[in-house]
């Protein structure tokens, strides 16, 4: 797979292009230029390292939306066995923007649910760019209730620009569907682990992200509104998205400091899309550890801890009145 480079990665892209050309030359030439290639590869690595050492929030936002970034089904395929996808909300439709089903994680039964984006134009349309409609959230809730009934832990993967803003979605109760999930997930009596793998877009993300632990990939984002949306409302200009991204505090490190997420999962150099096997390895380890932690708690303690966690969200001062 040829890597797609983002705008800010152009220096790396140029180097990689050069390497590619040299390789092509080497194939039908007697001169050995492997040394030169090696030198350039090293240079490319260093350059990437330097770039990624000081990414701005807006650049991280670009990485989180990278078209080659692993999506929910990629993680399911790599980390789970016996995946049996379950479809539909039982009352209106099956929303392809959310996938879910039973699977095994290290042999253990789990319910896995996540937003799903598409790779090519056709699939993007089919997945509605990972923007669920109410039936998607209702399917997710149905599967979570099913998991609760059979005492199966739930793993969710979050990766959406947001819930779909459409006429039909409004008519069928987008608000109610999201609110219902927040409410029900607060009291589901099984462990829930939520991992933000790409874009954590507002209420549409949160609707499958209430649980006992929130993990976040190093270059994922999680925000109340997209930087572009925020910029167009508060600055009246979408061009201010970079400023908005910075001030909104959407990155994993910032959110960890604020106590809103529990764990950051490191990504390979240059982002998850650069090295799928390494990413999957890191994810597996993180999920394994977290699952072990939450499963160690008796269910009543689990519920109490989850409730306390929910109630702890927010920053305010208390004054005499």
């Amino acid at each position: 797979m040829k890597i797609t480079f983002l705008d800010f990665e152009q220096p790396v892209a140029e180097l990689e292009n050069k390497i590619e050309q040299l390789r092509f030359v080497q194939d039908d030439s007697a001169v050995d230029i492997s040394e030169e290639i090696g030198r350039l590869q090293k240079k490319s690595q260093t350059l990437t390292k330097d770039l990624y050492a000081k990414l701005s929030s807006w650049q991280i936002s670009q990485v989180s939306r990278h078209p080659q970034r692993p999506y929910t089904l990629d993680y399911i395929q790599a980390l789970f066995t016996d995946f049996e996808e379950l479809h539909g909300d039982r009352s209106y439709a099956d929303d392809a923007a959310i996938v879910g089903g039973l699977a095994r994680f290290n042999g253990q039964s789990v319910m896995v649910i996540g937003h799903q984006k598409g790779r090519d134009t056709k699939e993007r349309q089919y997945r509605n760019f990972g923007m669920p409609r109410p039936e998607g959230y209702r399917k997710a809730l149905r599967l979570m209730k099913l998991a609760e009934k059979f005492d199966i832990p739930i793993l969710t993967f979050i990766d959406t620009p947001g819930a779909y803003p459409g006429v039909g979605a409004e008519e069928r109760g987008q608000s109610e569907a999201i609110g219902r999930n927040l409410y029900e997930m607060a009291e589901l009596r099984v462990p829930i682990i939520c991992t933000v793998i790409g874009e954590g877009g507002s209420g549409g993300a949160l609707a499958i992200a209430v649980g006992d632990a929130t993990l976040m990939l190093q270059y994922a984002t999680y925000s109340v509104i997209s930087p572009e949306g925020c910029a167009s409302i508060l600055w009246k200009s979408a061009a201010k998205a970079a400023d908005a991204a910075e001030t909104l505090g959407i990155t994993a490190t910032r959110l960890k400091t604020l106590g809103l997420i529990d764990k950051i999962v490191s990504e390979p150099l240059g982002g998850a899309h650069r090295d799928y096997p390494a990413m999957m390895q890191a994810m597996k380890k993180a999920l394994q550890e977290t699952l072990k932690q939450v499963q160690a708690l008796p269910v009543n303690d689990l519920m109490q801890t989850r409730f306390n966690r929910l109630m702890s969200y927010g920053k305010f001062k208390e004054v005499e009145v």
Partner: protein
């Protein structure tokens, strides 16, 4: 046009139009934005800020609503001690801390939610009311915490909880902290529910975004005021996405009733009585008249 205006020569008429606004003393008259009728402010107020001509429900402040709703005796405020901070040092064209100061000055409120314990027709309850004029009634950490404290008090005191929503959604200036208030408020309600205490949610104009998509539709009974704008995404965003004209009355209370999203629409003038009736029915108490007689 009145017969008197018709008699006037055109020039005078025009002058009068120019001076139209200037001649109206501040606060004495009020023009209904729906039917353009010019109303005496005191008449409008006597009618619970509902236009006597077209029934348009004007937006009202949180404290006005509480005043109209609750019995005069035995009210006290909950969570006033909880006040906002600018954790993110958020800055767009203006600092969040400045926006807060301005909002506090303009509204005399410290944040966008006022919670009170009190009673309606002697039925004790906790009521939370959004103040829309405080940064669009947006929900940040303070709104979430006050809501939760209200719910917790209702649970402890074995009382129903009622919320009047009026909000543009989550407060952007608090970033993800505000998004998490959606989960926090919903979480708190699960405890009220486990104690079998009613939560009645009343959606007033407007109830959008993060408030609409969290506790607003989690009421055991969900009510709305006539004509209230209620929805997840704003009309402009939807129009940009779907590129088609939106149906007539889209996202209005009547539209939601028709689509099965809410239980009923209640005229503000009947709100107090109907809330009392609903609460007595849900908690299996005697009829309101009997309670009051006793």
């Amino acid at each position: 046009m009145s017969w008197f205006q018709k008699l006037l020569p055109p020039k005078i008429k025009r002058r009068e139009n120019i001076d139209d606004k200037k001649n109206v003393p501040e606060g004495l008259w009020h023009k209904c934005p729906a039917c353009q009728a010019v109303l005496y402010h005191s008449d409008l107020e006597k009618n619970f800020s509902v236009c006597p001509k077209c029934n348009h429900h004007h937006r009202i402040t949180a404290r006005t609503r509480l005043d109209w709703l609750l019995d005069a005796e035995g009210r006290f405020e909950i969570g006033a001690e909880v006040q906002p901070v600018d954790t993110l040092k958020f800055k767009d064209s203006r600092k969040y801390s400045e926006r807060l100061t301005v909002a506090q000055r303009d509204t005399s409120e410290t944040d966008a939610l006022v919670v009170m314990q009190g009673s309606i027709h002697t039925i004790p309850l906790v009521v939370a009311v959004f103040e829309f004029s405080f940064m669009g009634g947006s929900m940040g950490s303070v709104v979430g915490e006050r809501f939760v404290r209200g719910v917790q008090l209702a649970t402890e005191q074995n009382m129903p909880f009622v919320c009047f929503a009026a909000s543009g959604g989550a407060r952007m200036q608090e970033g993800l902290l505000s998004l998490m208030q959606m989960a926090k408020t919903c979480g708190a309600l699960t405890q009220l529910s486990q104690s079998r205490l009613p939560f009645i949610s009343v959606l007033t104009d407007p109830t959008m975004g993060g408030v609409s998509a969290s506790f607003a539709f989690m009421g055991d009974v969900v009510l709305a005021e006539p004509g209230a704008l209620i929805g997840f995404a704003g009309a402009r965003v939807i129009q940009q996405t779907v590129r088609e004209t939106l149906p007539e009355g889209f996202q209005r209370a009547e539209f939601l009733l028709e689509h099965g999203a809410i239980d009923m629409i209640i005229d503000r003038r009947q709100m107090r009585n109907q809330l009392a009736t609903l609460l007595t029915l849900l908690t299996k108490q005697s009829a309101v008249a009997e309670i009051e007689a006793a």
